[in-house]
């Protein structure tokens, strides 16, 4: 590899990749841990590849400690996947710890901090101990790094190769798939047989092409015999690491079309000689009928080469073949390797940025660029809505003609917007996947038996939400494990099953994402919560709190009920921080608890940046938008259907069900609004905490798709308002937060409202100064 590139840039990419690889390794380890009795070799392979890639990159950047450690780690993994060592719980534990160490080392390398491996000597020793435990097992079939590094006839390390050895990423798949034997292929006579001659130009590797990938790709098409032509191999002294000397002849039995085969070579066709011929008689290995000749293929030359080539029968010399392929080392990320092999299985997120083969499944894009795009599209939608409105004011004919055009335009913009938004959406899986390990570790520390059951991992939500979900979720799970779930004895005494359950669910609901954490523990001890709250001065001694309100005290700042502050949770900054995090995201959190039966935390978060279908309503002089997803129906109640309750609130009966009214104009102090529900309209909406509530409005103005704009960016959150948007006339419209409104209406907040009014008055006075 030439050294005239900007290393830093590559480093950045490397660290990004490391992060992904570590995440993926951890996820796979989680799978192992939950099921170590019946290990899926694929999972081990995946972990191995992760560690190996990290090592590979580290080698290239000279992160010695990282290389050394990952090597030890990798060696054990290698033994594991070869089945020489069987996995046990202790080992998975160690593997997880090793992943942590690896993560730390990567961090150190990133921060350019010196690392002292001694800190992790224990882990290294453990890893080595596991590795050596069954070292005597059949070494001859085992082909690990050391074996390959031994000089072979066809593999001769030059200094450059040595340096790039870390990048020799193909070694890891050596034992994965034994190459098909000739017998296998010949026996299968039903499928057409092709002979493919592939002679790379000497410079093939410089364009980031990798013959091995092609071989693999071919093999995925059908049964394949590979012959390697080594006639171009120069003497050792003349050999250069970045030149391609080998040529290949493939005999391929496949159902796939010629086109599929050609596709394999799509990216290298200009840099090689390629001849694909169909063999009519299967037993005949020589070409009889040339079906297709690629533009660069020079048939005559090819034929000559073929005669002189010393074909090596691959089935006898598996190792040699692989070694010969690795003899042309080429920096390629293992992601590419895996992708070319089984592209559908791999997480698309992990796709490498530059695929030399087809099926490039993803690219890496700077988030800023996506954001810019999202903003521009948002502006486009608003402008389009404005234009549409203006065109409606035009003279009849003109407006009519334009209407059709606008209809199409809005269709396209909507589609465009949805596609752009989708770029930012990611499944919550990336967050959920970290929880099983957390639960396992905590539960073993606390000596509790807990199963974590997750659902809805694939629910998609905006990336920013995902990023900020991690901390609160971790905290809540910790909380459930530590405080929620009882000890084994307690569970036994109350006749509960020995193993406790924590459910973690995600789903889309009312245009938001709803995340639930349910445990079947002891529930919230209201007596103790009250006692603590009074102790800490959070509530006065005299109070008339409802059970639900007591439960919600756990979100109060500085509240912690843990009798002993454990290192698991209980520093008293917990749940209020969680609540604040969620609020900052424009979300809500509530807790439902049933003493003795468990606790349920319910988080509802916006799918930020999303577009929202809204119903525009009039309330006095103001217009508001109600998210259409939460609207159930709109009714015009008659006097008989309205009942006033003791506390002054009004309920409306709809088909025998009593629904509480929210007097929007009272809550928002809007002038000139309809006060008598029988004169106005009631929009029945669904809330998360209060079931159905009816919002009293003057009239409905229409339905419109709106772009959610953050009100909080330049101002603070306002009760009952979830966000803002820009309406067709360019003015700001406020989107109602139905749950928030219900909460405001439902007493409790009444007092607070009073207090706040006083506060504002005080502010006024402050502003007025003393002269008042």
């Amino acid at each position: 590899m030439p050294q005239d590139f900007d290393l830093d840039q590559f480093k950045t990419t490397y660290f990004e990749e490391c992060q992904e690889l570590l995440d993926s390794a951890e996820e796979h380890l989680g799978e192992l841990q939950s099921n170590f009795a019946d290990v899926d070799v694929e999972v081990l392979h995946a972990i191995f590849r992760c560690v190996h890639s990290i090592k590979g990159g580290a080698g290239a950047f000279n992160f010695t400690e990282l290389v050394n450690f990952s090597h030890v780690f990798e060696t054990l993994l290698d033994r594991l996947r070869d089945g020489h060592i069987s996995l046990n719980q202790d080992m998975t534990e160690t593997l997880l710890q090793a992943t942590d160490v690896l993560s730390n080392l990567v961090q150190c390398a990133k921060d350019q901090k010196a690392v002292d491996l001694n800190d992790w000597q224990d882990i290294i020793k453990k890893l080595e101990a596991f590795t050596n435990a069954q070292d005597e097992v059949s070494n001859e079939t085992l082909l690990d790094i050391e074996t390959i590094e031994q000089p072979k006839e066809v593999y001769n390390k030059t200094a450059e190769e040595e340096e790039e050895q870390g990048w020799g990423l193909f070694i890891d798949d050596v034992n994965e798939e034994p190459l098909s034997t000739i017998e296998d292929v010949i026996c299968d006579e039903t499928r057409p047989c092709y002979k493919i001659l592939f002679v790379p130009e000497i410079h093939l590797l410089r364009f980031a092409n990798e013959p091995l990938l092609l071989v693999r790709e071919l093999k995925s098409l059908g049964d394949c015999i590979v012959q390697v032509g080594t006639d171009r191999m120069p003497s050792l002294k003349e050999m250069k690491s970045d030149e391609a000397y080998l040529s290949w002849t493939f005999i391929l039995h496949t159902d796939r079309s010629l086109q599929d085969i050609e596709e394999v070579f799509e990216f290298v066709v200009d840099d090689c000689e390629l001849a694909i011929t169909q063999i009519i008689d299967d037993a005949e290995v020589h070409p009889e009928k040339n079906i297709k000749k690629k533009k660069t293929a020079k048939k005559e030359k090819t034929a000559k080469k073929e005669k002189t080539s010393k074909a090596v029968k691959i089935q006898d010399t598996t190792k040699d073949d692989v070694a010969s392929i690795t003899a042309e080392p080429k920096p390629t990320t293992p992601d590419q390797v895996t992708h070319s092999k089984k592209p559908d299985k791999e997480n698309t997120d992990q796709a490498a940025s530059a695929g030399t083969l087809t099926k490039v499944s993803s690219i890496r894009v700077d988030l800023d660029r996506v954001d810019k795009l999202v903003n521009m599209v948002g502006e486009l939608v608003i402008t389009q809505a404005m234009l549409k409105q203006q065109s409606e004011d035009l003279a009849n004919d003109a407006g009519h003609i334009m209407a059709q055009g606008f209809e199409d335009l809005s269709g396209y913009t909507r589609e465009l917007q949805e596609s752009v938004m989708a770029i930012r959406m990611q499944p919550v899986k990336s967050v959920f996947a970290r929880m099983p390990r957390l639960v396992r570790e905590l539960s073993s520390k606390l000596n509790k038996k807990i199963d974590l059951i997750t659902a809805g991992e694939m629910t998609e939500v905006d990336k920013t939400v995902i990023e900020q979900l991690m901390d609160p979720l971790t905290h809540m799970i910790r909380n459930s494990v530590d405080h929620g779930i009882e000890t084994e004895e307690e569970r036994f005494q109350s006749g509960k099953p020995e193993r406790a359950q924590i459910h973690l669910n995600a789903e889309h609901r009312s245009g938001r994402i709803q995340i639930e954490i349910i445990d079947d523990g002891k529930g919230i001890d209201r007596e103790r919560v009250l006692q603590k709250a009074i102790e800490k001065g959070i509530i006065p001694e005299k109070h008339d709190l409802l059970d639900e309100e007591i439960d919600n005290l756990i979100f109060a700042p500085g509240f912690s009920t843990a009798d002993i502050v454990t290192d698991v949770s209980g520093r008293g900054v917990g749940m209020d921080v969680v609540k604040r995090n969620i609020l900052n995201l424009g979300g809500r959190i509530s807790v439902f608890s049933k003493p003795g039966h468990g606790t349920r935390f319910l988080m509802s978060l916006p799918l930020t940046l999303a577009v929202l279908d809204g119903m525009i309503i009039q309330c006095g002089v103001e217009k508001y938008i109600i998210p259409l997803t939460s609207v159930m129906e709109t009714i015009n109640p008659i006097k008989e259907e309205l009942n006033t309750m003791v506390n002054g609130s009004v309920v409306v009966s709809v088909r025998g069900e009593y629904i509480r009214l929210v007097h929007l104009h009272r809550l928002f102090n809007v002038k000139g609004a309809v006060d008598n529900p029988s004169n106005g309209l009631v929009v029945i909406t669904e809330t998360e905490r209060y079931g159905l509530v009816g919002i009293l409005v003057d009239e409905l103005l229409g339905q419109q798709q709106v772009v959610i704009k953050s009100l909080e960016e330049n101002y603070d959150p306002i009760s009952g308002i979830s966000a803002a948007t820009i309406l067709g006339n360019g003015k700001v419209g406020l989107i109602l937060d139905v749950d928030g409104l219900a909460e405001m209406e439902h007493g409790g907040d009444r007092n607070r409202l009073g207090n706040l009014k006083q506060q504002v008055l005080m502010t006024g006075e402050q502003a007025h100064g003393i002269d008042r």
Binding site: E379, A556, K709, S710, Y715, D716, I718, R752, Q759, D771
Partner: protein
């Protein structure tokens, strides 16, 4: 009203770094560090705000009122896709609500990470002031709350009170202003 673009502002500010210990209040003295202010009026009083925090000046347009906010909070405005809260400075200084017309002006200023607009009567000038020309606020003057003022200068016989928007719109002030918005815990 014209909006002042950034290039212009930097142009105005080019003398900014030529600081030394010059004397006198001569505005043209480039030796002294010059500070530039955009001045505006509320009624008969004139105020100045540091040109570096001003992002834009635009004519008043109808805002969307935010529920349960103090009186001086005049609602929010669409500033090319950004939602910007507008504060009525007259009302903030307890001189009554501004009867806003198209002739009134909104000055968009940057306060920390936030953009806020202040509603004033007119924008009058851009002034360059030597640091030494800025006088301290006499403690006697309690006409407006001097917490928000960084000093006074005299320009052609007129007195201009220099506003410190950071103080005027500090986090706390904004928070108290919209304390309703906080769905915070407290069942106090």
């Amino acid at each position: 009203m014209a909006s002042i673009d950034k290039g212009l502002m930097t142009g105005f500010n080019s003398t900014h770094h030529l600081s030394s210990n010059g004397q006198g209040s001569d505005l043209q003295t480039i030796k002294e560090e010059q500070l530039q202010y955009i001045t505006f009026t509320i009624g008969r009083e004139e105020y100045g705000v540091d040109i570096m925090v001003v992002r834009e000046i635009k004519a008043w347009s109808e805002t969307t009122h935010l529920p349960n906010t103090p009186e001086f909070m005049r609602g929010v405005l669409n500033l090319r896709g950004l939602i910007v809260p507008i504060f009525d400075l007259r009302c903030r200084f307890s001189m009554g609500l501004t009867e806003a017309t198209k002739m009134h002006v909104v000055i968009i200023v940057q306060v920390g990470k936030r953009l806020v607009g202040i509603l004033v009567d007119t924008v009058s000038d851009i002034i360059s002031v030597g640091k030494s020309a800025i006088q301290e606020i006499p403690r006697m003057d309690r006409n407006i709350d001097d917490e928000y003022l960084s000093g006074l200068v005299t320009i052609e016989e007129r007195m201009v009170a220099l506003l410190d928007v950071e103080l005027l719109f500090n986090e706390k002030a904004i928070e108290t202003g919209v304390a309703f918005g906080e769905t915070a815990v407290a069942l106090k």
